[in-house]
């Protein structure tokens, strides 16, 4: 498969079909036993963990189902992390700006355990965009949230995605969420059984 810059791709499939494995490999979190992965200009299958980490830091942002904030750091400090890991001096200003964008300007000094699930996910989204990623990987971003909060988070995610022009790859069970993406990949038993992009192009070619 190939994803274009700025495209939004939903990866759907039943539990155990291999969605998460695919996400891990695409994001350079894991290595595949065979095949090739290119992320922006990096050949991930040729890199070791050290180099892959640098690529992740430069090009990749994540939003997880279980938020994955560091409990010992405040909301602001969590958002500052990616920039700090890169050694960026303007980390704090940028982080405050992002927190304002996700509507948490008044909760910057709160620790994750003092925030609701929706708020935690908003911090996570702010953190994901803090590294100004080329690609944003999201793993069931609404899986731990109620429908209403989920919708707010989705809105936030897509609007920021648009604003930053980020490529989005999202693993989800949520039909409505998948429909909002420009392209849907259906995975069955580790194989892409259906790719809406190829259907469209095939349909286009056929018509």
């Amino acid at each position: 498969m190939r994803a274009k810059a700025g495209e939004s791709v939903a990866v759907v499939g039943t539990s155990g079909s291999g969605k998460t494995t695919l996400l891990g490999i695409l994001a350079g979190l894991d290595t595949a036993t065979g095949g090739q992965v290119q992320l922006v200009d990096a050949q991930l299958h040729e890199l070791d963990e050290e180099a892959r980490a640098l690529v992740r830091g430069k090009h990749v942002g994540f939003v997880f189902q279980s938020f994955q904030l560091l409990g010992s750091l405040t909301a602001l400090e969590n958002v500052m992390l990616p920039a700090e890991l890169r050694g960026d001096r303007l980390a704090q200003e940028q982080a405050l700006e992002l927190l304002e964008k996700v509507g948490l300007a008044d909760r910057t000094d709160h620790y994750p355990r003092q925030l609701s699930g929706g708020e935690q996910q908003r911090v996570a989204i702010a953190r994901a965009f803090a590294s100004q990623p080329t690609v944003l990987f999201a793993d069931e971003p609404t899986g731990n949230l109620d429908t209403h909060t989920g919708e707010i988070i989705i809105e936030l995610l897509f609007s920021l995605n648009e604003e930053f022009g980020t490529t989005l790859v999202m693993v989800t069970h949520d039909e409505r969420l998948a429909q909002r993406c420009g392209r849907t990949l259906q995975i069955v038993a580790g194989v892409i059984s259906n790719d809406s992009a190829s259907q469209i192009s095939q349909q286009g070619a056929g018509s």
Binding site: D30, L54, F62, L70, R86, S131
Partner: protein
Amino acid sequence: MNLVLVTRMALRDLRSGEMGLLLVALVVAVGTVTSISLFVDRLQQALMSESATFLAADRQISSSRPIPDEFSVQARARDLQLSETMLFPSMVFVGDMNQLVSVKAVDDAYPLRGKLITAQEPFVRGTATQVVPAPGEVWLDSRLFPALGVTVGDSIEVGLAELTVGRVLVTEPDRGGSFFDLGPRLLMNIKDVPATEVVQPGSRINYRLLLGGDEPVLEELRSVLELEPNYRWVSIREASPRIGSALDRAESYLLLGGLLGVLLAGIAVALSAHRYAERHFDHVGVLKTLGATPSQILFGFLNILLLVGCVAIAIGLALGVLLHLLIVELLSSFIPVVLPSAGMRPYILGIATGLICALSFAMPAFIHLKDVSPMRVIRRDLGTAPASQKVAWAAAVFGSLFLLLWYSQSLMLTMWTLVGACVVIVIFGSLAYVLLKSGRVVGMQAGSAWKLALSGLQRRRKENVMQILVFGMAIMLLLVLVLLRTALVTEWRSQVPDNAANHFVMNIAADEVAAVQNLIDTEASSGDFLYPMIRGRVVAVNGVPSQQYQDQVVENPSEQGSELISERNLTWSAAFPASNEIVQGRWWASDSQAAEASVELDYAEDFKLKLGDLLSFDIGGQKRDAVLTSIRKLEWESMSPNFFIILSPPALQDLPATYMTSFYLEQSKKIFLNTLLTNHPTITVIEIDALIEQVRSIVVRVTQAVELILGLVLASGCLVLVASIQASRDARMAEHALVRTLGGTRKLIGGSLAAEFLVLGTFAGIVAVVGAELTVAILQTQVFDLEMKLHPWIWAVGPLVGALVIVVVGLLGSRGLVNSPPMLVLRGLN
């Protein structure tokens, strides 16, 4: 990761309690080492300076030859204090009265340690003096005054010199407790010795060079001088074997206690570091998804460890100093007020211990963090590479070894500890495994809390074997220290029982015995023996004259101090003397009519004497033969007289003998000696009450030090228990929360937890008792030179205490686990 970030994370971890146990464990390690070594350092200095008064110096060089000037030159070059003395027996004359005395000639610097006590009249307590006899003057032992019929101011002849009696000598520091330093003391100035002309070729003179100064300088001097084989280097250990061995054992014990304390703290450090790392796996996963490279992770967490290590060292040092000040304060009545201040070594030792503990016990777990896969963030079930287990063990073993060796500076103690630890781990591991396995069979028929507990124990069998090992080790080490302390203290106390005879009386003529005994009975409690004493020499072995025999059997005559033919004190006795032990042959029957002999083991070995040898004695011109029928081992540390050669009654009893006895006299009744000596001027009284008092006070002090170390190590032991329970807390928590969501009551969970800890504790107790008995047996025989003994009581107490302590600590540690709502636990674990 930059330092700001690292510091922030470290501080947050400290504040949130994630680092708490690791910090406490490191603090305890540093604190234990610092306080023990500070205290030992100062105590040693205090004990040494007190013990030094036994020598009147810090060291002596002793020889039957004049001490070469070279020795004094070398000592002076090192700024050491010096004093020369000479000891020799001599006859003194006053008119037609004469008496054999033991002369000590001293220079103006004498004594370097301790004080001379003198008086103006005999048989009084006397006062300390700063001076020594002026040239032309002698100071005499109280008992010489009645014996020679002199008073202060009279003159007496020593050899060819005529000297004036200046004062009564009550005591001098290096008088020694020797039973055969016969004859009362005469102290004179060394400048008068040439005038006496007693120094002739062949005369028996003991030359001594007394040295005072700092320990390292003295030891350095020793290595420079060519002492062997003619010059003997004497420290307190050689001069007073009783105190020397008590000090040696106490030192070994303190060292061992300190070592075990550090090792226990080390285990606690390893456990809590492991837990810390485990709880940060997700943390690292997240950091990695955010672009942290493995080397950034490594650098970051090592910095966190370093930071925590530094904080722990700072707190540990402060705690160590405070603790040792507290101890000094507690023991101030026993320790001279002005304790010499300790050197830098304890502090350096403390800092190094903290760093080494952090490096070898905590670092492996931290290094492991860099290998955490970022995939963990989306796949929680992902473990981490197991390879670094080996690294962790290797680092811990290496670190422990280094600490052991550096701290004890004894290869033997280190090797024994290492061998012990290996054996213990192998045996305990299999024992714990078998115990757990048998637990399941029992559990099958048990109630549901038990079933739950035992199934939990089974499921995490590997972890539980480890935990039993750790618990068992901690309990074992504590048992070892308790048992050894009891053994040591009992041994020390038995050397100086209350009411032990503190005066010996010698040279009692046969017809005086009854009178002396009566007199003693009126004022003092009598000792438990009365020995006849006869001077005699061995003149032939199996018909070969002694000198010829000795030349034949002794390979290296120059190193042989004593001569077979030397005159010795002989005794005869039908009864077997207490505190002796037969190592070869048998003691004669009480009605034996044969002339038999029994000799001391070293004496027999020196002169290659065997059972069945015919020994010929010359006793005041009379020839006597006796067959060697037994060889004895003597307890040199006991406060009773020891004889190299004892004969059966038929061999000696018809010869004229003098007698020796002993009695216990209270301090307040010392004046009784005056009565005794006035009535029987020819007898010799040896006072060892001061010596016994000194030994007793040292024993009390050392015992206290030993108990204190025990307390410190107990604290480390408890820490290990807490750390170990904490380490398994998360796994237990998840399991029990699950059981509760499935409908398990709090009572069931509580019961099952208690049952689990009960089983773990009991097994650990059993394992500990086996280990403790083995270790104590080895230590007693190999390191402390005590008799091996089994301790039936710990077989019951060990498992019971193990179970109790672990149930209590365990339940306290998992209180939150039972009481918090299961949802919270499950969510927290997510």
